[in-house]
Subunit: 392 residues, 4 copies
């Protein structure tokens, strides 16, 4: 049962519970010679961090410690372990839910599976979205590796409740949405999302939303035929995220209503090179990347934890009752979910690039190391202008 | 690279190309003592078989041979290998596509990945949907194992192009749709689908559609936390099917537009037992089954192979040209795709039931063997009445 | 339970029973563009084939059929499936052992594990050494891949019973031992082995022996730290062979009696290049190859099937009795075991060379394909002179 | 590349370097409801701890912290992470070896594989035996799980240099050897070993040795046919330990010199139950446990780090030189190696007992939890009498 591990060549194992001492991740398969620092990890974590406006009020600084696999600023080929302490934990808020399972939550299925007395109910325990800290931490490494083949991964919140993007966004707009507190790719959309979230907060309710991830310069040929198709591994990666209820790529579910003559992406010459006319296929054919932009979407359900009272059963008395979830919760998990989906896409792409050995599997040259450092610098400085530090 | 294998405790490895001598599957992890015959496999294969009305005209009898793992009518615990010969192969139909990659197909990505001269273009080679024969064959064994815990898996075509189910169907209607030539769960829907398919055929065009799979009596507690969530493994299983472009469970993408107060499934008492009010969650919470009906959907794109000419590039001349795909193709892959999605769901459920050892991992008792035999008999006789043999 | 699969990047799955219709293997992870024919497989199989003097009298032609993954004489990147029919099967010889488990055999442990009625007792079923046909077949592909990095793998029978090699052999002598009917690396040793085997045959008894495998030109750096050390994967590979009871590399068990000052292999310059003074370490340090000859040994127990009556228990009556195993058995499994150990070493080396991407993981260039073909030709023609065809 | 993980159903991932901040392990697959404390881990670690007489002088308290997977004294089914800080680190001792690779060590193979500048040379980095802390920590959990099926695992140092056990020891003697500072199963052997070690220390030299592990009450039927035979998984587990150069079970290499009529273990009735006459087979037939004592042995080479100067090459000057390894090293790694081999055997047995679901895969009942607690108490108190605290 390798339930807590993911990936074949770039393999992460996450551990830790919401209210335990720490959460963390071990990443196996990183080649030696990759420049890496705790700041790199911190940068990515800053975009899923709670304690910012419009998301959970839990105040976590999320300071990562790299405790293995690093030597003189470079990876060694050994597994990299990253630990992040849980600092702002108020377990008392959770004493009620120990016997009043929350609707829409994993409370009751965990109790059924593992036994009432073995269930670490505090803050959702292992089922908490806090587990995703390890994934986002790992994505910093995945992104650095992907820079060797030029891949850039960007994500935004395409819709929130019934509000949705009214136009197509450029790759840069999507990339820069990371500095938007609600992951909107335009300022007008940002305003609409913020308004909706304020409403949800005042109603004690929550909203669902759709995250979209666009990856540029994905080398053609990524993905294995049959079961490890790129679309299949992306599907698993994304569906494994808490609160995700649907996955699609390219035109996705819309294709089910279309005709082949509309839906087929015709093959053309672009400046003498093979390409596709419109990127209907979302960058994959036969489950293998075709070199066009890779586009996937994840549907998030509304945050299950809401203040509005809902029916449940008291497990002590086995009588029906209601529960109102007080804690400090995201009014829309999709907002912080964007960076998690983005992370999982980066992880899958790095995994497949290693599988195909487009990224060196054992060690980088010094030149490759320097190349990554420069690209990473550009990446972390990009979009910053015009965004206040607090927004992060 | 275990790209051609799937599952952890119930593990299949498929092999074979569309126009090679045969396709097949090796299934590892089947406990000893399960009654099994080639007829069992044949039964399931009959529902994905080409050569019936409304699907591909390729005439394959699809007669399975079990060549390992069976002794005196029962499994032995050794891997089970099933071979199915490719009989009706007309490779000459494909000589043109060797250098004219078909839009919407894997032709060009395979060429890019593996090299032009290593690409078995005949009938799509390994990328052909013929690969799924092995999956459907394996599903017969998965379904028999699931009978030990009472699980039944049924599937139907929920929509075809813009035509869709106008009402909810009972589990039995869905189950019996297997005898409908277009996998419709009602006769009125069947007529609408057939009309649409006839139109597609005469237009030389194709349609997309949505397959839905409902599983009854899924024991609560199936699925592992974090990466091997049931929803994640189902997501991978379904997304690995050719032509599938989207996956969702429960209300799926609709949830992204909803509020938490609507979307949360409240916990109630049903006859004194814990249950959920409406099955919004599609039978899973925190990625673990909750005992309610498990409901998933797969979006199929329209068949890529259409007669209507489409733009492509001739790889010999590197000039733009058009291609009209003549072969014998399904006007809507979703129709035969239904049984493949159904099969993958059964395989994932059997895998997880073995992982949790709800199904014996090493051997069945004689009583369990007899129980499976009886339930299988009931299952294969169910729904038959009123359906002609030809419809299969 | 992936019990029937082995390897990570070069992954084989074997199937089939001794007296079933066929045995076979699926090999996943072979890059596209490797020239391959059924003759290549047949060549390797000829050295483990029964029906030759001094080994089992079972007459198997062992004609391999490649039924997937091959196109126009080259691999395609798809899984390669090889089937070998079981032709000379006399199951009646085995009716007695169904209830009289043979000492030293897996009969009773299979019965305990899988149940008496689920046990395919005919010829040992899945526990038969016939399963190793798939491994030897796969090794032809492994060896071809290894030729890309110059690796050559050779093996011989280092000792049989108390007779053992009296001197060191050259790599060529070891390589050419494949044409010796008893895998002896010198003609004098051959005579001694043959005499011993004749004696075993006339006594109705059997002998154990030690197989040694030497691999030349193994690139330094193969093997992963910690659990997938090269020595660990070799250990598993070799210990998984029927009748193998011990594994060692370099000086092996002898080192346990030595002092560090004798046992450490000093690092020196050889023609200006780093090297080791004596190859005490058997080509591995820290579980990683160091570029010196890789040397491993496998201890085979004597064939369990002997004519001399031995005590057992009749499972029908639960009374003690004796059994005399009549069938057609090897007087020393170690003789044919040599080619199986050699095969497993080649498979592990190919697996690790692919893991480190020293061999291309996705496709070979045409030049690489040609290089393999030429080297293969040399390899199959080497040593033939002076050996009659029958000896094979 | 899952090189740092081991096991299928009980799966550990180790991380950390000798002179990094900590070493650790994540254990996935532990069922919920197992009583567990840091003291349990500490107990097992105390037997591999350095800083005792006759082993390395490095002073490590080895205080384990369990940072995930535990709730109110019981496991939760989530991955268990154990961290152990590296406290007594003197990296300066190692500055010389950065450019003077030590004979018999992994120094040079790591440099070749990962690059000189990416090699964490301090204390051997990842190649250090300190990595095995995680394995021994995990073994405490494995042993507790095995108590549910009555299995006890014990180990001793069977030989050191040319000194070896002169008689057979009882299981209890072997078990109690853990309190011997040199893992001797008798006081007379203890004296001989200690004398030899003192001599090695004064000579600046080292000795090899053989560890033997005996497991009682192993349920018959453990182990999978073909590649995951119990003997194969044990082989890999043991061969993955630093300094192990050979593995055997039962009579092992001795069998290679024997005849079948001597070597076959005859099947007899013991008090009306099936059994084997002598346990020649070491508790396994066909790679599956047969219920007899499981006996394996591991050959350790002498510690590579010795004070006596040895030839090496200075990588800065590429000139031959000598190196004398000063650090604080075990005069015989086999002494502390005993507890590592013992740990790996326990881990493999727990893994296979979970695979066969002889141990509950998801959760223990409260009764099972209590049973483990009682047996653990007995186990940790056993043998203590007559042994001073310091000997640990």
């Amino acid at each position: 049962m390798t339930a807590n591990s993911f990936g074949e060549s770039f393999r992460l194992t996450t551990f830790g519970e919401s209210h335990g001492p720490m959460v963390g991740v071990v990443i196996d398969g990183v080649p030696a010679g990759l420049p890496l620092s705790e700041d790199d990890i911190k940068f990515e974590l800053s975009f899923r961090r709670p304690g910012r406006p419009f998301v959970s009020g839990r105040r976590e600084e999320d300071i990562p410690m790299i405790v293995s696999g690093l030597f003189e600023g470079k990876t060694t080929g050994a597994p990299i372990t990253i630990l992040v302490k849980n600092s702002d934990v108020i377990s008392s808020l959770y004493s009620e839910i120990r016997h009043k399972p929350r609707p829409g939550h994993a409370d009751l299925t965990y109790i059924i599976k593992y036994g009432f007395e073995n269930w670490d109910y505090r803050g959702g325990g292992r089922a908490s979205a806090r587990e995703t800290v390890g994934r986002v931490a790992a994505s910093a490494i995945a992104k650095k590796l992907l820079m060797l083949v030029g891949v850039m991964v960007a994500a935004h919140l395409k819709s929130l409740g019934t509000v949705e993007a009214d136009r197509d966004y450029s790759f840069e707009e999507i990339l820069c949405s990371k500095y938007s507190p609600v992951r909107a790719a335009s300022t007008s959309l940002e305003s609409s999302y913020e308004e909706l979230i304020r409403k949800a907060m005042s109603d004690g309710d929550s909203y669902g939303g759709i995250a979209e991830v666009v990856s540029k310069n994905v080398p053609p040929g990524l993905g294995e035929p049959v079961f490890d198709k790129l679309k299949a591994d992306l599907g698993k990666a994304v569906m494994s995220i808490p609160a995700v209820v649907g996955f699609e790529y390219g035109l996705g579910f819309k294709l089910a209503k279309m005709r082949g003559s509309e839906a087929n992406d015709e093959i053309i010459l672009k400046d003498g090179k093979l390409g596709w006319r419109k990127n209907i296929a979302g960058g994959m054919l036969g489950g293998i990347s075709n070199g066009e932009d890779l586009v996937i979407r994840a549907a998030f359900k509304p945050t299950s934890s809401i203040r509005i009272p809902q029916r449940t059963v008291d497990l002590n008395t086995m009588e029906e009752t209601t529960v109102s979830v007080i804690g400090r919760h995201d009014p829309a998990v999709a907002v912080r979910g964007v960076s998690v989906v983005e992370s999982m896409v980066a992880i899958v792409l790095a995994d497949h690039a290693l599988r195909a050995s487009l990224i060196p599997r054992v060690k980088l040259t010094s030149d490759q190391g320097r190349e990554v450092e420069e690209k990473w610098k550009t990446y972390t400085e990009q979009c910053r202008k015009g965004h206040s530090e607090e927004s992060q």
